[in-house]
């Protein structure tokens, strides 16, 4: 049963992460374009920092760092009169009221807390990738458009929202669809974050079962379970490829790009 639910977990993760990461990316890209220096530095660092480092290192790092950061903030908030240091050698100690989730909360809260952390981590990392794509897309919008907007007397804010943002999506879509493919392929990393996802259940269920512990003894089937996962991902990739192609065809319709031109010629 767990295996079936875990497919739901993966799909849920995709459904939540994609819009949140897009929002993060939009924020990052706008920050990187900002005229306020600290904000611009923040945006640029956010984009730059994920580029040189392996992604799993980020996943492993952010989960612990976020967890500890949240606990530390709650610790400061809930127990102001705590006099021991938080870092005692190799241990990270906060007062029990600040533990996240609380030690006495039921199991499902623990699980969903882990899942929420994973979603946040995915969003931060993929937000940076999306920020990179959107930043490029914003620069790809023809400059004449922005100059025209300025000549019409629009403020910077108006130019950004009314001219730049509506036009950038066509330029961003190839990058974003690529990112979606990458996001699909990144979902098995949930396993590393300690969420009981499809990889976890495939390992559990596929392992050798002896008659002493279960009604359905079988040999080592993990190979077949993982083969099934492989096929699942291949099909998923293929389907999204088809869907994204259709979206792209719709979006390029009537645009002054090479794709739009090709469509016009094919119709004529």
């Amino acid at each position: 049963m767990g295996l079936y639910w875990s497919f739901g977990t993966v799909l849920l993760l995709l459904a939540i992460t994609a819009p949140v990461a897009l929002a993060f990316g939009f924020g990052g890209a706008s920050a990187a374009r900002s005229h306020i220096a600290p904000l611009r530095w923040f945006g640029k660092t956010y984009i730059a920092i994920v580029r040189g480092v392996p992604d799993i290192a980020f996943f492993l790092f952010f989960v612990i760092a976020l967890d500890q950061g949240l606990e530390y903030l709650r610790h400061k908030w809930k127990c102001p009169d705590w006099d021991e240091p938080v870092r005692q050698g190799n241990d990270f100690v906060v007062c029990s009221a600040a533990k996240l989730p609380l030690g006495n909360s039921p199991q499902w809260i623990h699980e969903s807390y882990g899942f929420a952390l994973a979603v946040l981590t995915f969003s931060i990392v993929f937000g940076a990738f999306a920020a990179n794509v959107l930043f490029g897309a914003m620069r790809a919008v023809p400059h004449a458009q922005l100059e025209t907007a300025e000549a019409c007397g629009m403020t910077r804010r108006q130019t950004f929202w009314r001219v730049l943002v509506p036009q950038m999506w066509v330029f961003a879509l190839p990058g974003l669809s690529n990112l979606w493919m990458v996001l699909i392929k990144a979902t098995p990393l949930l396993f590393l974050l300690g969420v009981e996802d499809i990889v976890y259940w495939s390992r559990e269920l596929g392992g050798t079962k002896t008659p002493r512990f279960t009604d359905y003894p079988h040999a080592d089937w993990r190979m077949w379970y993982f083969f099934f996962l492989l096929v699942f991902y291949l099909c998923f990739t293929k389907v999204s490829e088809l869907v994204l192609d259709r979206i792209m065809a719709r979006l390029t319709h009537g645009q002054a790009t090479a794709g739009g031109e090709a469509q016009r010629k094919a119709a004529a």
Partner: protein, 269 residues
């Protein structure tokens, strides 16, 4: 300082099983973390270099196969590329490991495949071949028509036409994208010991040791930045080597028509 040199002597080659057997358990010093994570980098470099080198040849063959007219060559190459590009590398590692395990059960001859040094290398080799083949295939399609026409005009045919005209142009056009592929292959090597492949006697790669320290100290803020630093250095080295080759491939062109290496993240596989 002397203590640190001693640590380097003890743990410098720990990932290869040379030196001190026991990993440090308490009172981790910065020096120990730097040394052990650096020692793990040997694995990352080994996987990356071997897979890149061997993958290059298979990728060329696959790209030619995908561009071939005969369906006998084209279909297998297309399927190979789709199989390895369409599924997560992580799952590929898992599947390959358990496949090798059952192979070993049938024929003991395959037993080296279940250990990381060979089994993971095979997976990485196939994976990078597929990604690189797609890059090469793309550039094979965009070789300027003038080049092939010139080759025809000189009466070049078959192998010498490929060797002297098509292949160098393909490489030249593909090189910037191939550089990115190389960088991300190195990043992908960190997955090896996190998938099925076990790190026997704690002989792991850089991320293995980094997460070891993070687990023991509950402090991710030291080992992971160290790991990041090592990888940024590695990335810079890869870029400089590939940049030198790029300059050589483009040496006949005027400065402004040379392809520049641009960093375009293609991220997780």
């Amino acid at each position: 300082m002397e203590e640190c040199i001693q640590t380097i002597m003890d743990y410098g080659l720990r990932s290869q099983g040379v030196g001190e057997r026991l990993l440090p358990r308490t009172d981790f010093t910065l020096c120990q973390q730097f040394t052990l994570i650096g020692s793990g980098m040997i694995w990352n470099i080994y996987f990356g270099v071997c897979a890149l080198f061997s993958g290059f040849f298979l990728a060329t063959a696959l790209a030619l196969g995908k561009a071939a007219r005969s369906a006998w060559f084209r279909k297998p190459s297309e399927w190979f590329i789709f199989l390895f590009r369409g599924s997560p590398l992580f799952i590929q590692f898992f599947f390959a490991y358990f496949l090798f395990l059952s192979l070993k059960g049938v024929i003991p001859y395959f037993s080296p495949l279940t250990s990381a040094w060979l089994g993971a290398l095979v997976v990485l080799f196939f994976n990078t071949s597929a990604y690189t083949a797609e890059i090469f295939y793309g550039t094979l399609q965009s070789i300027p028509k003038g080049d092939t026409e010139a080759a025809d005009a000189y009466g070049l045919q078959g192998w010498s036409r490929f060797r002297r005209v098509i292949w160098p142009t393909m490489l030249r056009l593909a090189w910037p994208a191939y550089t990115n592929e190389a960088i991300f292959l190195f990043h992908a090597t960190t997955l090896v010991f996190f998938s099925g492949f076990p790190a026997r006697q704690q002989k792991g790669d850089a991320l293995y040791y980094a997460s070891y320290f993070a687990d023991k100290t509950f402090n991710p803020f030291i080992p992971y930045p160290i790991l990041a630093m090592y990888f940024i250095i590695l990335t810079l080295i890869v870029i400089s080597i590939f940049g030198a080759i790029n300059a050589r491939l483009n040496r006949h062109l005027p400065q402004d028509r040379r392809a520049k290496i641009k960093f375009r993240p293609q991220i997780i596989r």
